[in-house]
Amino acid sequence: MDTREDLANVMEKSKAKSVLLIAFTFMGSYATLVIVYPYSFWRDYFSMSTSKLIIDVLVNLLFCVAIFRLSIFIDKILNKKISWMVHPIKRLLIQTIFQILGALFLIICLSYLYYKFGDLINTQTYHIGLRELLYTVISIILWALMISALNTGDFLLKNWKTATLKAAEYKIKAAENKQLVAEIELQALKLQLDPHFVFNNLSVLSELILKDQRLGYEYTENFTKVYRYLLINSKKKLVTLSEELKFLDAYLFLIKNRMGGGSIFQVNIDESKLDMLIPPVTLQLFIENALKFNRTEEENPLIVRIYSNDNDELVVFNTRLPLIKKPYSTGIGLKNIITRYALLCDRKPSVEETDEAFIVKVPLIKR
């Protein structure tokens, strides 16, 4: 969602709330006055001229707005100084005192204004007794406190809502992460048990032993290295690039002897990057994909380049030689690498696909 729109929405809402609270105060003030003042007062009051009546109502409205503003202002200042969450009782006491003082201050200001300019705006035709005056002051203070209470209630409710939402979000995220980790582990397990991999290699190996014992011996050694790497490292989060490259050497040895000249591999890694980290078996997946999706013919071999660049990335580039029919693929392997990176760092792998080439870049992570 658009955050600016959100903000505008929130501001609109808080504006509506302010208007509602002011209207509430305004009506409430009259309701209180009806109770406090005797009938004779109202008779005199309504016998005033219309213009005076309007002025009186407007002054009252202005006073309500002032009380409301003051209440919000005190709340805002205290929100910064004393948190409801940390010192609730201290806050309650201080807020109440400030509200009372604020309301008294406003009443004094208003009285002063009436005293100074009363004759100009309103010739006081009615008499107010001391009792009524006290009642009025008390009711104004009560109203100020009520506004403050409403405002605080709203604030606490909002806080509670955000906190609940955040907690829910966090729970969902945690569940998602857990599932991701489980998926990655499952994938690693599948890789370890990949029967294609095992039997293809054993098939080649048994023939190689008959044909060239020395090569058969080397093939066994490399197959052992590769298989052990898959078993031990595929569950780890990260390995050094040099470890992964050692594995790559052994893996490429197997591929070259199995598939012959159908694919050519060029590895060129800057030595300074060897201590950087990547998720294990990443290179194997990219090479497996390159071999799976492309033709590997001796007359027109597939070229795979594996190199590091200046942006601390490992790049796997391969020429594109599409198969007769695009093989079925879920794309889970590549997706998995991308999600693995999302859990590891802020940088993301990138995939670039043109008619001529397929290029994957994965970030190298600093120790």
Binding site: E207, K211, R258, M259, T296, K325
Partner: protein, 122 residues
């Protein structure tokens, strides 16, 4: 009992192809291997230019795609023995003129049983 037959091998991994050739030489020395091809395209071309062999021994994953494509691109007139490292394509292989489905590394006994099955069906 041993009929003389022409056999075509589709296999992109040289050592696996050599293995089939070697085993066939042992179990049926009088059968002739008429070709070893690594890709679907080569197989389609070969079948277009030559008389149909009597039997094809076919790896499922070839250098340019799955060997099932050969059936889509040309008319295969003879029976087929499939070979693969794993059994995920077994059901699909049934649809074609398959005599048998062998797992790699192909064993001599199994290959012989498959070839015998082919001979009996002719």
């Amino acid at each position: 009992m041993n009929v003389i037959g022409k056999i075509l091998i589709l296999e992109d991994e040289k050592l696996n192809a050599e293995r089939i050739q070697r085993l066939m030489g042992r179990i049926r020395p009088n059968m002739e291997i008429v070709g070893v091809l690594a890709s679907v395209k080569k197989a389609v071309d070969w079948l277009a230019e030559n008389k149909s062999p009597d039997l094809i021994i076919m790896d499922i994953q070839l250098a340019d795609g799955l060997s099932f494509e050969v059936f889509n691109l040309t008319d295969v007139k003879c029976p087929v023995i499939f070979t693969t490292a794993y059994d995920e394509y077994a059901v699909k292989a049934f649809k074609y003129n398959s005599v048998d489905y062998l797992l790699k590394p192909v064993e001599e006994d199994e290959l012989e049983a498959a070839v015998t099955k082919f001979e009996n069906s002719v």
